[in-house]
């Protein structure tokens, strides 16, 4: 038996009312979203929409009021996330700030950092991206080479980050960089730190990279003697690896790990009502979705209780990615693409090309399975 425990929890009080409120809000905005926007899911970037979400108090929901939050529970936040994803809302401009950067600053930032950044993330003013991958450092992230060297009054940043989603549209990056050399014979996980980088600072060059769909989704960001102030450091110097990995349970277990293609499933069911031959395939997808939701919600509840279910999160991500990634293929099993209604066909076309990223972003499938294997005692 492994220690992979999942605790089921009831929905929070007021869940249905909150859902209804989010749905009413989304219904106002949804008519503007093209099938491609909905298919992009949390990779859709729309500042106006994000500001509207912020005005509703749905960014940074779990943060203290003094920092712009609304002090809702983690399970209530989960409801908002689910509804946004179910509708295919373009939440990309605040997704990372809400999911990762904000919580990190809240937990480890200085009081000044909290006051500066959190209210602006919560209002939708600041969009954040994450600087992890580098040209020579992907899954082997700790081999990264971007350096921040101590100088008078702060840090001098040099190096290069790549595959940074929305880097060209964001305001801030939290980058994992080397602030001291890895100790001789010691772990390369030592000497890394997380720093806040103003993406408009002199010396920052952002080069969008066209993706296979033909869009400018991700970027290469070069740092050329970028001067960072003293308070650019988040948390402890040298503790960046532990800090970055401690957030992974939050990053990997949410509904964004199994609902990225959800609007396509909805479109498929709508297009195939009354088609008995399709029922079985659709039913299998629904059963899987239901199970994944139970698992993801269980992890959310455990996070709310202050646990750190990092292995369960890896497991949910792996299963969830498999599911969402296969949805375009499963739709093809029951319907020729030519026969799909226009909107569905366009979502299907977009997703067919982009689903390979689902099991790359946030840690590859192989890394997730490696984490599970370690839990099993195999590594």
């Amino acid at each position: 038996m492994t220690g992979l425990r999942f605790d089921l929890r009831d929905p929070p009080p007021g869940a249905a009312a909150l859902r209804a409120e989010v749905r009413a809000f989304l219904a106002e905005h949804a008519p503007r979203w093209s099938p491609e926007v909905r298919a992009r899911s949390w990779m859709g970037f729309d500042r106006d929409f994000t500001r509207a979400v912020g005005a509703k108090g749905w960014i940074g929901m779990c943060w203290p009021r003094e920092y712009g939050g609304t002090e809702r529970s983690f399970l209530e936040r989960n409801i908002v996330l689910e509804e946004m994803l179910a509708a295919g809302a373009p939440v990309g401009a605040h997704w990372i700030g809400d999911r990762q950067s904000g919580p990190l600053i809240l937990r480890l930032g200085t009081e000044a950092q909290r006051r500066k950044f959190l209210p602006r993330i919560a209002s939708g003013e600041y969009a954040f991206c994450i600087g992890l991958s580098e040209p020579d450092s992907g899954s082997d992230l700790a081999s990264l080479r971007t350096r921040a060297d101590k100088v008078d009054g702060g840090w001098r940043l040099n190096g290069r980050k790549i595959w940074t989603t929305f880097g060209h549209l964001c305001d801030w990056m939290i980058a994992l960089v080397r602030t001291s050399p890895a100790p001789e014979g010691g772990s390369k996980h030592q000497g890394l730190s997380q720093v806040l980088v103003d993406l408009r600072a002199p010396g920052v060059t952002i080069r969008p990279i066209r993706d296979l769909v033909g869009e400018k989704g991700f970027n290469e960001i070069t740092f050329d003697d970028v001067l960072l102030p003293e308070d650019a450091l988040v948390g402890q110097e040298g503790a960046g690896w532990a800090q970055a990995t401690s957030e992974l349970a939050f990053e990997r277990s949410g509904p964004d790990r199994y609902m990225s293609a959800h609007p396509l499933l909805e479109a498929g069911i709508e297009a195939l009502r009354g088609d008995g031959a399709a029922a079985g395939t659709l039913g299998r997808q629904v059963a899987r979705l239901w199970t994944l939701r139970a698992m993801s919600t269980a992890v959310a509840g455990m996070l709310q209780e202050g646990e750190d279910p990092i292995r369960q999160a890896a497991l949910v991500k792996d299963l969830g990615n498999d599911f969402e990634q296969a949805l375009p293929e499963r739709m093809r099993d029951v319907m020729d693409t030519d026969a799909m209604p226009e909107e569905m066909r366009r979502m299907h076309a977009y997703l067919t090309q982009i689903v390979p990223t689902f099991s790359l972003r946030g840690g590859t499938r192989e890394i997730m399975r490696g984490i599970i294997a370690r839990e099993l005692g195999l590594r």
Binding site: M1, T2, L4, R5, F6, D7, L8, D10, P11, P13, A15, A16, R19, E82, A86, H262, L265, E266, I269, L272, R273, G274, D275, G276, A278, A279, G280, T281, L282, G283, R284, V286, A287, R288, L289, W290, T291, L292, R293, A294, M295, A298, Q312, L315, D318, L319, E366, M368, R369, G370, I371, I372, A373, E375, L376, G377, L378, R379
Partner: protein, 336 residues
């Protein structure tokens, strides 16, 4: 998953099974014997009435409380008809009939009865009609599944000892739903046990100078297995929770989803276990096959993946509005 009393019961069952029912017991059972020692040990725990309400003399537990017990049974290859007894007793009590002691099983009328040849009494359901029969009064045709578990079909030749009707909360498909829930939880358990065997083998079997579990190709397979096993466990518990909240009949969607998940996972898990254990896992001597043959069998019982997927698909196809609204409408919000 389990907490409090549920975890304690499961622990007791697991201990009793570990003491009284090993691979030898499964072998004997598959050869047609009744596992007297194991049955005595398990029956002694008084769990048959787990789901029977307290005012009817039972323990008054919920479906979710017994999922860990069912998983523990599954881990041991279910060498005794305890799950069947728990289910049959619950059905009888719901229909206002006092459950008898001894070996007890249930099935929909016309379907094979698990452990039928060993039962003292059987409960046969025709829709919501429940009939308690003395097993000896029925004419039996013996059969079995590929787990070589007794699945015997009775012909009713004498009037039942008692008859009753299930309330609406149990509905006309109670036999199917209960079997689906039980087998889903048992599949979760059997997968945990098969996974443990595979991991143990991977850590001890050496090839190319190191344990095969050091190879990423093997690690990745076992990680998939572990993920599937967790999925079944969560699904079974979530379905049981829905049944506790709304009654068995109104939880058909959730139970069906759990059974689809369990059935799909059973096939994947069994395949990976055999791949990792290679030729050794195919031998009669190694215990793995008792688990994998049960995984393949249990996915057939209480509705196959195909059966439930069709139903679930038809259900969502015929429900107006988005699927998402349908799924979330089934959330259990605690009463304010």
């Amino acid at each position: 998953m389990a907490c409090g009393i549920a975890a304690e019961l499961a622990e007791q069952v697991a201990r009793a099974l570990a003491d009284a029912a090993g691979t030898e017991t499964l072998r004997a059972v598959e050869d047609g014997a009744f596992p007297e020692a194991a049955w005595t040990a398990l029956d002694g725990l008084g769990l048959a009435g787990a789901l029977v309400p307290e005012d009817a003399g039972g323990a008054g537990l919920g479906f979710q409380d017994i999922v860990p017990v069912l998983e523990a049974l599954g881990r041991a290859g279910a060498p005794v008809p305890l799950a069947e007894g728990i289910g049959a007793s619950a059905l009888l009590a719901a229909a206002g009939i006092a459950p008898p002691g001894g070996v007890l099983s249930f099935a929909a009328a016309g379907a094979p009865v698990p452990w039928g040849r060993h039962a003292a009494h059987v409960v046969l359901l025709e829709g919501a009609r429940v009939a308690l029969h003395e097993a000896a009064s029925l004419r039996w045709t013996q059969g079995g599944n590929i787990g070589r578990e007794a699945r015997d079909t009775p012909l009713v030749t004498a009037p039942p000892l008692a008859e009753g009707s299930l309330p609406n909360a149990w509905g006309a498909e109670a036999a199917l739903l209960l079997a689906a829930l039980i087998r889903s939880a048992q599949i979760a358990g059997a997968m945990q046990a098969a996974l443990a065997l595979a991991v143990d083998h991977a850590n001890t079997r050496k090839q190319f100078g190191r344990p095969i579990g050091r190879f990423q190709a093997v690690q990745q397979q076992l990680a998939v297995f572990a993920a599937e096993a967790s999925a079944v466990s969560v699904a079974a518990a979530a379905a049981a929770r829905a049944a506790d909240a709304r009654g068995l009949a109104a939880a058909a969607f959730e139970i069906g989803c759990a059974k689809v998940t369990a059935g799909e996972a059973a096939a994947k898990g069994a395949a990976i276990a055999h791949q990792v254990l290679a030729a050794m896992g195919i031998t009669e001597e190694h215990g793995l096959h008792h688990l994998t043959r049960r995984l393949w069998s249990w996915r057939e019982e209480g509705g196959t993946e195909r059966f439930w997927a069709q139903r679930i698909g038809a259900m969502v196809q015929s429900t107006p509005g988005p699927l998402w609204h349908f799924i979330t409408s089934r959330d259990e919000e605690p009463a304010a």
